[in-house]
């Protein structure tokens, strides 16, 4: 087990009244798995991601990472161990820095590898995510959305992270590009034993990339299960209504959705 989320709650102050963003969530993330966190807006999925990343502490509960409790103030090594890939890669990359310099910075900050070899490592990282190493000299603006997302993935790889939080990594991409980025993520995980916390609202994506699924509704974890089992027989009504709402394109999917999902 790589991460244990124990009884985590989060309240926010919203102009005088309290908003309960997460209520007593307990969840484990296993080494090498892709755990999908599924829910609609306001479900608490992004709050959970931010707590795991240490952007703010939970109001209650604790996080155990590699057997040790994660402190509210994360050390550099914690930050290296848990990396984020955001929905919009353009806002994740410094527009004035070349792609190569952004990747190099990750290596420099964390002191990864000998200094002399870091530019060569940047080239390798670009090749690992299917980009031409010549891209190192280009600014993010010269890349397409899919290429930028590959750079963001390369940066997480640069840190040799133990856990990668993917927050809607393909929602802003066109469907053909989405397919490629999902495939890349899946191949990297299998080849290198990476661990993903994959946050998404898209159940079609979940079905094809996640081993395990956790469904959130209004700050509560309402259902978890192995992907196959959860899609075959979802037990919570909210999960069934999510499945029932997915727009599908084939007769097979429609038959499946009508059998398993609840229509809205």
């Amino acid at each position: 087990m790589i991460l244990e989320i124990q009884n985590v709650s989060k309240q926010f102050d919203a102009g005088g009244h309290k908003v309960q963003a997460l209520s007593e969530v307990t969840l484990q993330v296993e080494q090498g798995e892709c755990l999908a966190i599924v829910g609609e807006s306001g479900s608490g999925k992004s709050t959970l991601a931010n707590i795991v990343l240490g952007l703010y502490p939970p109001s209650h509960g604790r996080l155990i990472f590699d057997g040790k409790e994660l402190p509210a103030q994360r050390s550099l090594s914690h930050r290296r161990a848990i990396q984020l890939v955001q929905q919009n890669p353009l806002s994740a990359l410094n527009p004035r820095r070349s792609i190569g310099a952004s990747l190099r910075l990750a290596l420099d900050v964390h002191g990864i590898g000998p200094k002399a070899g870091r530019m060569a490592r940047v080239q390798e990282l670009l090749a690992d995510v299917g980009l031409d190493p010549a891209f190192a000299n280009r600014p993010p603006a010269a890349l397409s959305g899919g290429q930028r997302q590959r750079v963001a993935i390369a940066r997480a790889l640069a840190c040799e992270s133990r856990l990668i939080v993917l927050d809607e990594p393909t929602s802003a991409l066109d469907v053909l590009v989405q397919a490629q980025v999902l495939r890349l993520l899946d191949q990297l995980r299998r080849a290198r034993g990476l661990t993903y916390l994959f946050i998404t609202h898209d159940l079609g994506v979940v079905r094809n990339i996640a081993n395990r699924v956790a469904v959130f509704q209004r700050g509560q974890l309402v259902e978890t299960g192995m992907s196959e089992a959860l899609f075959a027989a979802p037990s919570h009504p909210y999960t069934r209504s999510l499945i029932g709402a997915v727009p599908v394109i084939t007769q097979d999917e429609k038959a499946f959705r009508d059998r398993i999902g609840d229509p809205q």
């Binding site: 609609e40 807006s41 899919g146 066109d174 469907v175 053909l176 590009v177 989405q178 397919a179 490629q180 999902l182 495939r183 899946d186 609202h201 898209d202 159940l203 079609g204 994506v205 079905r207 094809n208 990339i209 196959e228 899609f231 209504s241 999510l242 499945i243 029932g244 709402a245 997915v246 727009p247 599908v248 394109i249 084939t250 007769q251 097979d252 999917e253 499946f256 959705r257 809205q264």
Partner: protein
């Protein structure tokens, strides 16, 4: 006769670096009361097509437009700007992706409704407009129309605002509704409800719809006929069921294959560029 008949529509923008061609001769027809989808990826030209039909892009400097757009038997280019403006909000109306930013944040919904209804009936007073507004809000399953009319857009949820937008767009009983990614900004469960509602309403009123979307699943559920657009060219068209069950063009096939299936099956390897994407268009059956 078609309600909307677009022939060989071309669009280019004059930029400082030279002209950029956006549409390379789009032809598309919508019959009366027909729901037609234009599906494609970002930058394919689907939104600009709707904006040209509405007449918004013509006012933009640097936009070069050619081709013919017939609406209800009239060539839109032959209309005086004033008559053209009169069509908007009456004969044709549009709803956008993000409902909250489409509504004016400083006026209550009721006042905006009055403004919309005045386009159809210039002399209508606030009280009469409110009665009609309540009726059309009830049609989009809004249970407390008075409360909604007294609210500002930011006080309502995204799903509620989208229903308000649909009600406003249909309030003057237009012949054509241009819907640009409606529901994309909404949660899936709310999106499903909203689209079902919209489907019901346009069927009841016999409103034709040009439905613009990148979401294949949504298109399949909403449209009678589908056009697939790729880089400013129509590559495939036909009855929705035919296009989805027997996609003929390489690009359409790639789009379908790339869509992750709810039934699983893994992640196929797909190229996002392919010479075959530029193959001639395929049109299923005889066009209406």
């Amino acid at each position: 006769m078609s309600l909307l008949d677009i022939q060989d529509l071309r669009l280019s923008f004059n930029l400082w670096s030279g002209p950029v061609n956006v549409l390379h001769g789009i032809s598309l027809r919508i019959g009366k009361g027909e729901r037609v989808a234009l599906v494609g990826e970002s930058g394919s030209g689907k939104s600009v097509t709707a904006r040209i039909v509405l007449g918004l892009l013509q006012e933009m400097r640097g936009a070069q437009i050619s081709g013919r757009i017939g609406f209800d038997g009239t060539d839109l280019a032959s209309l005086a700007p004033r008559d053209r403006r009169d069509l908007r909000g009456r004969e044709m109306s549009m709803i956008f992706q993000d409902p909250t930013s489409s509504l004016n944040p400083v006026f209550r919904i009721g006042r905006q409704f009055h403004e919309v209804l005045r386009r159809g009936q210039p002399s209508i007073d606030a009280a009469a407009a409110r009665e009609i507004a309540k009726k059309v809000l009830a049609e989009v399953s809004i249970e407390q129309p008075d409360r909604v009319l007294d609210n500002y857009a930011f006080q309502l949820s995204g799903g509620m605002n989208q229903r308000v937008m649909i009600a406003m767009a249909l309030a003057n009983r237009p012949k054509l509704l241009l819907a640009d990614e409606p529901g994309t900004a909404l949660d899936v469960t709310v999106q499903a409800q909203t689209l079902r509602l919209m489907h019901q309403l346009v069927s009841d009123h016999g409103t034709a719809v040009l439905f613009i979307s990148h979401n294949l699943g949504v298109v399949r559920e909403f449209a009678d006929r589908t056009y697939v657009i790729y880089r400013g060219r129509i590559v495939e068209s036909g009855p929705t069921a035919m296009v989805f069950e027997n996609p003929a063009h390489a690009y359409t096939r790639a789009l379908m294959a790339a869509q992750p299936r709810l039934t699983g099956g893994g992640l196929p390897e797909i190229a996002d560029r392919d010479g075959a994407f530029s193959d001639p268009a395929f049109h299923h059956g005889v066009q209406a």
